[in-house]
């Protein structure tokens, strides 16, 4: 570990009193959201503009607060999986894995090897789908709904559809899969699925260079290079994880550093790190991860061992699992960073539902950096930065 520099960098003050800013300045207050083409859902930022330069940003999340944590307190361990699907609706597989891993740790259920392989493969394919969606929407933020951005968006969605087809083959659902259970998987790999995975991922990996060609021209570079720089200290303090943290130059990936599933067997897992911390670096990290995830998924799909797919008894009734009580924290690496589950289980009579389930969404921390990063940028840059943070509001507000 590098020595810790606790001296605070001169970050913009998020609690700036706008009256003290400049008495001469004619400030304009503008309201981005909650329903705006570029807020990726329902998110509201109040911007104080001096000309077109933002001097203060006040984010207001919570327009999609659906009380998932409260709902989970009322449901048994076996019933929660489909609920958390809807949190990070771009990567539902990872949500299911996060809560189920916490439950397994709490309940002491062992996951068989085949299920762990399947989870790794599903996680990686889901990461590809999620990053593709991000790439498309990011291009749309930069390029407008009536322009080149839309073209990239359409291409990305075309590829994403093929991944959704893969998942549909496996689970029967296009979107919210409900395929993980406590102790393993619900659906086994169908015959011929591996070949389809190879075919789909091969097609995608051939098209990634096309997107790069389409995006990496001078306009894109000028719009992203040096825009929205987050330095490593700020990123760590803010709790940024995943691609955002790695784009700021911190080599940290839970898949490698705190291996779960079968990631400990992947000795050659390459972690994409960039040092600039700007939108360009975040783009590069994600594109590298796209390639790496395709590689891992294709490597693993041929080596899935035979065996059972679920460790526990088959689930016959919702209240089947009884916890003894206790607290666990489990964090996994989703396309947006560390998705943590802090589970407080009740014992005895309250043993079949979580007493408190706190989900640690990576996007919440990503959005929390808005007051620190927006000031000093123009409105156009704000849209680009917001896009590069890849927030999913379902996850932020829960």
């Amino acid at each position: 570990m590098t020595p810790v520099a606790l001296a605070r960098a001169p970050w913009p003050d998020p609690y700036l009193n706008v009256d003290d800013y400049d008495p001469e300045a004619d400030l304009m207050v503008i309201n981005l959201g909650p329903q705006h083409p570029s807020t990726h859902g329902v998110f509201r930022v109040v911007l104080y503009l001096d000309g077109e330069i933002i001097i203060k940003a006040i984010p207001h999340p919570g327009y999609l607060h659906r009380g998932v944590e409260k709902l989970c307190e009322k449901l048994t361990y076996a019933q929660i999986t489909p609920i958390v699907d809807k949190n990070d609706y771009v990567a539902p597989m990872l949500n299911e894995q996060a809560v189920n891993m916490a439950f397994e740790k709490m309940l002491g259920v062992e996951v068989p090897l085949r299920a762990r392989y399947m989870r790794t493969i599903l996680a990686e394919i889901q990461r590809v789908a999620s990053h593709l969606l991000w790439l498309g929407t990011f291009a749309m933020d930069l390029g407008g709904a009536l322009g080149g951005g839309t073209s990239v968006f359409m291409y990305c969605f075309r590829e994403r559809e093929s991944i959704l087809n893969l998942f549909e083959d496996l689970t029967g659902c296009r979107f919210h899969y409900n395929t993980h259970t406590v102790g393993g998987q619900r659906h086994d790999i169908p015959a011929g699925w591996a070949a389809k995975v190879h075919q789909t991922l091969e097609a995608i990996s051939q098209r990634i260079p096309e997107y790069e060609t389409m995006l990496e021209h001078p306009i894109f570079v000028r719009r992203t290079k040096g825009v929205g720089v987050i330095d490593a200290d700020l990123a760590l303090e803010l709790g940024l994880t995943g691609p955002l943290l790695r784009a700021s130059g911190v080599d940290h990936d839970l898949r490698r550093d705190a291996p779960y599933h079968i990631y400990d067997q992947l000795k050659d897992l390459a972690v994409a790190v960039e040092s600039e911390g700007d939108c360009m670096a975040r783009y590069k990290v994600r594109v590298k991860e796209l390639r790496e995830s395709i590689r891992i998924a294709r490597m693993l799909i041929d080596n899935v061992p035979e065996g059972p797919i679920s460790g526990g008894r088959p689930i016959k009734q919702p209240g089947q699992f009884k916890a003894k009580g206790g607290q666990v924290y489990v964090g996994i690496e989703t396309p947006r960073g560390e998705l943590g589950t802090y589970l407080i289980a009740g014992g005895g009579k309250m043993g079949d539902t979580p007493y408190r389930l706190k989900i640690r969404p990576p996007s919440l921390h990503a959005l929390a950096c808005v007051p620190y990063v927006f000031p000093g940028h123009s409105l156009s840059d704000a849209v680009a930065i917001l896009g590069s943070l890849d927030p999913i509001m379902g996850e932020v507000d829960r």
Partner: protein, 334 residues
Amino acid sequence: MTDTLEELMLNPVIRALFWGLVMVTAVMTVTAWTTWFERKFAGRMQSRMGPTLVGPAGLLQPLADAAKLLQKEDLIPDSADRFLFNLAPILTVGFALGVAAVVPFTPDILAADLDVGVLWLLALSGLMVFPTWLGSWASNNKYSLISAMRAVAQGISYEVPMVLAIMVPVIMTGTLSLSDIVADQVKNGWLIYRMPFTGFFAFLVFFLAGLAEANRIPFDIPEAESELVAGPTTEYTGMKFGLFYMAEYIHTLLSSAICAAVFFGGWDGPFAPGLHWMLAKSVLLFVFLTWVRWSFLRFRSDQLMDICWKYAVPATLALIPITALYTVWHGGAR
């Protein structure tokens, strides 16, 4: 009967009126189907279909859009300036169509053969920013206001390289009349490849400025949807929005027509009538514009200014003396 018609057509007023009407109708009609074309083209680029269900191959889509826009409720925000709010869409289409008056399609099909056609053209495209600003400001919407500021900055800035760029053909041909510029090209070769090749660079700058004036990607900063919702037209409903929409397309179409006339020899070409050549060239340029639009991202407003003042203006400033010296050296404009 024929004689009286011919006599009538000899009357300059009648003639101008007739061709003006034809031009307006033609441009409006073409514009309507230009939207269809653009949607189809974009669809094909993005591996989808574009309009298919309304009429054969979606050809009736523009009519459906028009019928829809006509029947929409006409909302005017309470805090808007009603008069200016209503005036802006009319002005914007008016100015855009005004440019059509001087576009020489053939030596005959020309609404007004002004001696100072180039000046008329520049004046009107300079005015184009005015209704945008008017409408945005009158809407009393902050997004519109920001887009108005951007539009004014962009429009006025790009007027400079546009004027300077079109000076190159003017110097080379020695006339301010658009039809004379084309006639000169018919005689001495198209400006795009004529020595000393300044025409080509002037074309690039003029084209760029045309893109910027028409608010097309990569320069559609005033109406950047991902930032400013719908830019100047955020508050406009129904046909008023339709007029803005139309004006943008008219402007784009006429920019490509003017480029075709000034740099690509207008109606000049073998085997086919002049009108065909002129239309073919315009359409090709328009396709190119569309292609650019659906493949590029958008600049930021300060970067846009950078391009204008740091590259386009110095470049054109250099082009003018080169062209002038060359022309004088070879005995003045031919």
